[in-house]
Amino acid sequence: MTEITPAIVAEHGLSPDEYARINTLLGRAPNMVELGVFSVMWSEHCSYKSTRAHLRKLPTTGPQVIQGPGENAGVIDIGDGDACIFKMESHNHPSFIEPYQGAATGVGGIMRDVFTMGARPIAMMNALRFGAPDHPKTRHLVAGVVSGIGGYGNCMGVPTVGGEVNFHPSYSGNILVNAMCVGLARTDNIFLSAAKGAGNPVVYFGSKTGRDGIHGATMASAEFDDASEEKRPTVQVGDPFAEKLLLEATLELMATDAIIAIQDMGAAGLTSSSAEMGDKGGSGIELNLDMVPQREANMTAYEMLLSESQERMLAVLKPGREAEAQAIFKKWELDFAVIGITTDTKRLVIKHKGVVAADMPITALSDEAPVYERPYTLREPASGTPAYDKARPVLASLEKILGSADMASRRWIWEQYDHSVMNDTQQAPGGDAAVVRVHGTKKALAISTDVTPRYCKADPRRGGMQAVAECWRNLTAVGATPLATTDNLNFGNPQKPDIMGEIVAAIDGIGEACRALDFPIVSGNCSLYNETNGEGIFPTPAIGGVGLLKDASKMATIAFKRDGDVVILIGETRGHLGQSIYLREIEGKEEGAAPRVELDVEKKNGDFVRRLIEQGRVDTCHDVSDGGLAVAIVEMAMPRGLGAQVGQASIADAIGFWFGEDQARYVIAVPFAQAEKIVAEARAASITVAELGKTGGDSFSIDGKDSIAIAKLRTAHEDWFPNFMKAEL
């Protein structure tokens, strides 16, 4: 038997203190198999040891919440016995090493999290951050990630309906690939992972177990260096065909009442799924690895337990129901095996080739996993407004911004995703939020993912608040009532006090905004150690929100629809340019304070706009965010080539007025006959409101003087991405 040396402990990502703790918990030294199991179960990725103490501060409850964090995904009530199950998860490290498979298996993993709970996935979103456009790896990574997401999601027949993409040098050595899956279930048919009761069969189904992905969770909990590409063997390989069969077979099994508990095998595979099921059920689990379907010969217990082979599930069935389940998997041509039994020992016992390969108390793997109150320092937020040239012509800057890497159309990406399969997509990518109908009803779910990393870098707390507020605003802008969120917290190394400070402050801001906006967090994922050669990424806490439209026929879209509509701005424009797209793209400055987030104003303005949409009085609405007001108006003009003539309406200077990124703002366009009443209602509700001008023509003009053709702006906006990617092919 291999002797466990300090070097082997370190290779497993465990500190000497953690190793000592394992010895204490077991009452003896672990063997290699047990060390491997502890290494993944106690990894940052599985145990949330750096963040758990802070995540507890997030609001996770509300009348709409059926299941908060702690299960495979969050569950909310959307009325009429329907439940929405959703979660967002990162696959950053594998996607950087092998972009196609890393992104593909990220999609597969998050889908399994959702259908494990009894939901049919109905929509996918993704939040992607790439390095500088001119970094030599960026094109390759964009091409690989996008085709990996499409390759998996398209085959599954689940529409990919939206997302967000940023480029910034801070991600050049560590991209972020966050995928969100939204599914539908019935509230009375939701499946949990608690393996309650002893003597019940533990069954394995799906694909066979191979040697791929061993120690993936440990890799995801370490920083990168120049040798990281050597870690390619730890990236799993996805098989969307197997997952599609697994989805259909699992839902078919769920239509019977044979399942006691079910859990997908994600990070740390067989180990974490069995430990979590035993832990939640308060039971023990005994597995016989000889029964595990294996793809390769002579696999050791260590390899089987740590394999992250994809498209596998573990379930506990009611005794005597094995044959019924087996018949379903035979029909779908998937492996099925009874590999163990639940016990009352609260121990995870692994047998292999007639000997006990591991025997550990389950609580040692879960509850007893270390939780760290890591030291942190809160740095002073960036402040002030950098100097800028106030005389610079607005329209030339506008054209440049619309054709910049962060603001250009993402059509090149989303045309590679099947966004209309399932035939319920009512708003495809390109709007404020994706809208997907609840099949067979007039209800629809609105979905958006948001975060503005440059705000988070300048002021992590405010950036966290802003991410939540913008997500809430995007859902509101289509007319949905925001219900709940999932968070995907991407940060650098938490063992650095400054990074830990970013984490603490961002979580604090997120929590405050979620409470103020009644927008609880029901699921989430942390991805830490996003660093290469000691350089951390911008703090990037992505927020994925879900809202409900009770009557989707009232939904608003961003496109101007009628000539002569009055263009109305809701919300106050102070001309905030700190950390703006304008300053970065035009003045070359990434400086200044992040915009103020006033949650009471956010709520008041949003509730007002949503009510107008629900009443059927507004069908054209867009939130104002990256790039500011001029960009928002042009984004409304471009879809149908219908222009607008607008003028400045506040005391901010022209640059601040047209490009400032003040929060809590919306642009709506309404027929002339209704405009006056809406403006009066806004004023009566003490909401800042201004008529900016009218829709019409085929150009965008300001103050009756300068004007630019919408077609010209659209060319700048649409051409950037295909031109950028041409060099890849």
């Binding site: 027949g157 099947d418 035939n423």
Partner: protein, 220 residues
């Protein structure tokens, strides 16, 4: 009109086809598992889109060997209508119910977007409800829709009025902008665009309704 939808492992537009047929005919189609060698007594067989067998080997190649395809061929030989959409079109060429092959898109990328099609032929059970030369908008969603056949075959297809739909702006490199073709007996239609995704005005348009209406009028 009685219809059946064939379900292969990893078909994924089977539900969409079912919903569209139910909406248009007022009754649900029979859903036929690929291992069933018997086809119910139906007027129309739909082979839906998706990634049958994961598109492994070649798109549609393995599905074409499924037990149910023997019955589909027999149905077609008797003059029964068969509609293959997207992956269904690929299955039909692999089954030799239609000539030619569907190759990787010329742009080498999956492409999903609404495309404008020209209805080139209204002398068919599938398209009699359209006007000759009419422009319609259907979505495409495929990685391998680049239709290929040798020039003699293409000339014959054109000469016999078997090119039913043509792209206004070719999204995939298809020979002669071909989006959909008929069999010699004009009872089998294969097309890459998705008519079943354009029957419901709330989700992308209604231009596909006329295709199903044409079938109902012809086959009922």
């Amino acid at each position: 009109m009685k219809a059946a939808v064939i379900v292969f492992p990893a078909s994924n537009c089977d539900r969409d086809a079912k919903v569209a047929l139910t909406e248009m005919t007022g009754k649900a189609p029979a859903m036929v598992w690929h291992q069933d060698s018997d086809l119910p007594d139906v007027d129309l067989v739909v082979i839906p889109g998706g990634f049958s067998y994961g598109d492994y080997l070649r798109c549609g190649a393995m599905a074409s060997q499924s037990p149910v395809m023997r019955s589909v061929k027999a149905h077609a030989e008797k003059g029964g209508a068969v509609l293959g959409i997207c992956n269904g079109f690929q299955v039909l060429t692999e089954s030799h119910l239609l000539p030619g092959a569907l190759m990787r898109n010329a742009g080498l990328k999956f492409v999903c977007k609404p495309v404008t099609l020209k209805v080139e032929e209204t002398q068919s059970a599938f398209t009699r409800g359209y006007n000759n030369g009419q422009s319609v908008v259907f979505p495409v969603a495929h990685g391998e829709g680049n239709y290929y056949a040798d020039d003699a075959t293409l000339d014959r297809l054109e000469g016999e009025g078997r090119v039913v739909f043509r792209y206004a702006a070719n999204p995939n490199g298809s020979a002669r902008d071909i989006a959909g073709i008929l069999s010699e007996k004009r009872n089998v239609l294969g097309m890459m665009p998705h008519p079943e995704r354009v029957v419901d005005g709330a989700t992308g348009g209604t231009d596909g309704r006329a295709l199903f209406k044409s079938l109902i009028e012809t086959l009922s």
